[in-house]
Amino acid sequence: MFKKTFKGGVHPDDGKRYAKDASYRAYLPQGELVFPMSQHIGKPAKPLVKKGDTVLAGQLIGEADGFVSANIVSSCSGTVKAVENRRTASGAKVMSVVIENDGQYTLAEGIGVERDYKMLGKEEILGSIQKAGIVGMGGAGFPVHVKLAPKNADEIRYIIANGAECEPYITCDDQLMRTKSMELAEGMRILLKLFPAAEGVFLIEENKPEAIAAMEKACAGDEKLKVHAAKCKYPQGGERSIIQVIAGIDLKLGMLPADAGCVVDNVATIYAIYQAVCKSIPLMERGFTVSGDVVKEPCNLIVKIGTNMAEVLETAGGIRDGKEAEKYLSGGPMMGMALADLNVPICKNNNALTVLGEDPVAKAEQQETACLRCGRCTRVCPLGLSPQEMMDAAKRRRFVRYEKKLYGLECIACGSCTYVCPAKRPLMQTFKQTKAEIMAKKRAAQAQQGGAKK
């Protein structure tokens, strides 16, 4: 059957077989938990506690600094061990609150109070989302209360719950949709209350039939809720791809999803919204997949935010006997970040730990040859960019051409071009570097201008 889909994209091995049917189990961490003050895009939160303080689970420990920022909540009870710089999965050292867990998980006052969202007003709903410190849990970590307050709220036609989970190996959203479908439907109804003109769509890739069935059952009887089974193709879960499929609009340069009448949120985010609004539970835990070809017991866990990654791997049984882990990734193999050491906390936007027995990047590095001009990269780019030309411009450091003629800054770093390149060229890596350099130059120029004005 013909299915509407986005242009470009690739079909990597989805690797979901490892953890697909491992049902959720809660993991309670031991020892210390680390809460970086920057688990989101925007200004880091300001720590509210100091060394020696006692905290309760659900207590606010970091206060949002400005509108585009997010609250940080403790996920355990215990004493504050330190407020210092700690390394996170992204590799940078970030100011963090370190809490020695007492293992009691004593809840702070007011957590878990049931509320009926139908009785709440718009402001109250947005307020409780903001208070709960919810950020985009698919990976980017954009504060959700900002996303839910677009200027054209009346023109929003679609609220899209992103359950595509196109990243290989990761299955925690699949599990979430299978087990918490009713809550997700309720979460969506909460959002529809904010945008009365919109309809709610759950977008799920075809390779998750159980999740589709569960969501369809949960949405049955409500004409404002729909389930869309999308073609299984990477990067189906990209915001632009989703909007192309659901709304049929190809986002132009500089357009935001709201301009196309869409708000896209990950299903995990919607679940967090439900928890915050209906149960008064702030963002303390999330679904987390530990998977990969050398993991002993790949699993889907419900972990507390701040749990150590090494600990999580241990609860998954560690590495299979006789195998060796060559690469640790925070996230999946397409967009994940390689980890140098596992002693980092799980943040709000980390959804998986993938352990691979061989490093395809290292292998590709040895096989790199010159560009063959085959044009496959251009064909698979979901944004319609021309990676081959961008690579050329980046190598020659022709940044103006890269930005203005080739729209290189629009690259979402999905890695599809690198995946198909028969010459094994490090395309996406180069684009990431070039983007960082151009942005750094822009910031420097802006700072200079600002200085001159003063």
Partner: protein, 262 residues
């Protein structure tokens, strides 16, 4: 035979006519240029390195003659060349103090250890994007040689994991300093006598753990200095070359020998 003569004559006469026309036109429509531009241009090094901030040596020569740039705008020029340009422009000029690049890191492979196996583009600017330092030290030289690539004078090379400057070749253009994502390269006076070969702002114990050649920020050097030329800021010693006399007392007392006499 006749055809050959005719052809030669036709081409010859056309050539002559065009030649005359060209001379006439070039005299009539001549653009007046300041002859000093050419002279200044000849005195410049001609590397087109762009360190002056102009597009190249031609551009800065024009700017000097127009008075938009100072006579010593070229940081690569030596005193002799600047004097020559000064003579052309009819002003007294002193060469800017000669500066050379200096790499604030001594963390060679044997002094610090590798934290992870970096797989990716062999370029420092790409490596920092991975977020993690390849070496135990977060501040040190990555050793992929982005600076050496940027250097037009062949003055930089990476040896044993750390970039090394050949001061005789260094023209002080500062391109390497811009290329280094860790900000390890600083332009310092060529006649400096003291330099701190570390850039780590970590506290002492953390530095010690990461590298045996790191500045601990103990401040002994600052206490030794009689001229207040050396200060410890953010756990790192820094030399103020306007005050330093090069007595070497700080280097003598430095417990980790991170301050060196050069």
């Amino acid at each position: 035979m006749q055809e050959v003569i005719i052809a030669t004559l036709v081409v010859g006469i056309i050539g002559l006519l065009i030649g005359v026309a060209l001379v006439a036109v070039s005299k009539k429509f001549a653009v007046e240029t300041d002859e000093r531009v050419g002279l200044v241009r000849e005195s410049l090094p001609g590397n087109n390195c762009g360190a002056c901030g102009y597009a190249g040596c031609d551009a800065v020569a024009a700017a000097i003659v127009e008075g938009k740039a100072p006579v010593n705008a070229c940081p690569v020029c030596n005193a002799e060349a600047v004097k020559k340009i000064g003579d052309i422009m009819g002003v007294q000029a002193e060469a800017a103090e000669r500066k050379v690049a200096y790499v604030h890191c001594a963390g060679t492979c044997d002094k610090t250890s590798v934290r992870c196996n970096y797989v990716g583009i062999h370029d420092c600017r790409a490596a920092v994007l991975a977020g993690i330092s390849v070496w135990e030290c977060d501040y040190g030289c990555l050793g992929f040689g982005s600076c050496a690539e940027a250097c037009k004078f062949g003055a930089l090379r990476v040896e044993n994991g750390v970039a090394i400057v050949d001061e005789t070749k260094c023209a002080g253009c500062g391109k390497c300093a811009k290329a280094c994502p860790k900000g390890l390269i600083e332009l310092v006076p060529a006649d400096k006598k003291i330099a701190v070969r570390c850039a780590s702002h970590d506290r002492g114990p953390a530095v010690k753990k990461a590298c045996t050649a790191g500045c601990l920020g103990c401040g002994i050097c600052a206490k030794q200095c009689e001229h207040e030329a050396i200060t410890v800021d953010g756990n790192l010693a820094h030399v103020d070359y306007t005050k330093c006399v090069g007595c070497g007392k700080c280097a003598e007392k430095c417990p980790v020998k991170v301050i060196e006499m050069v």
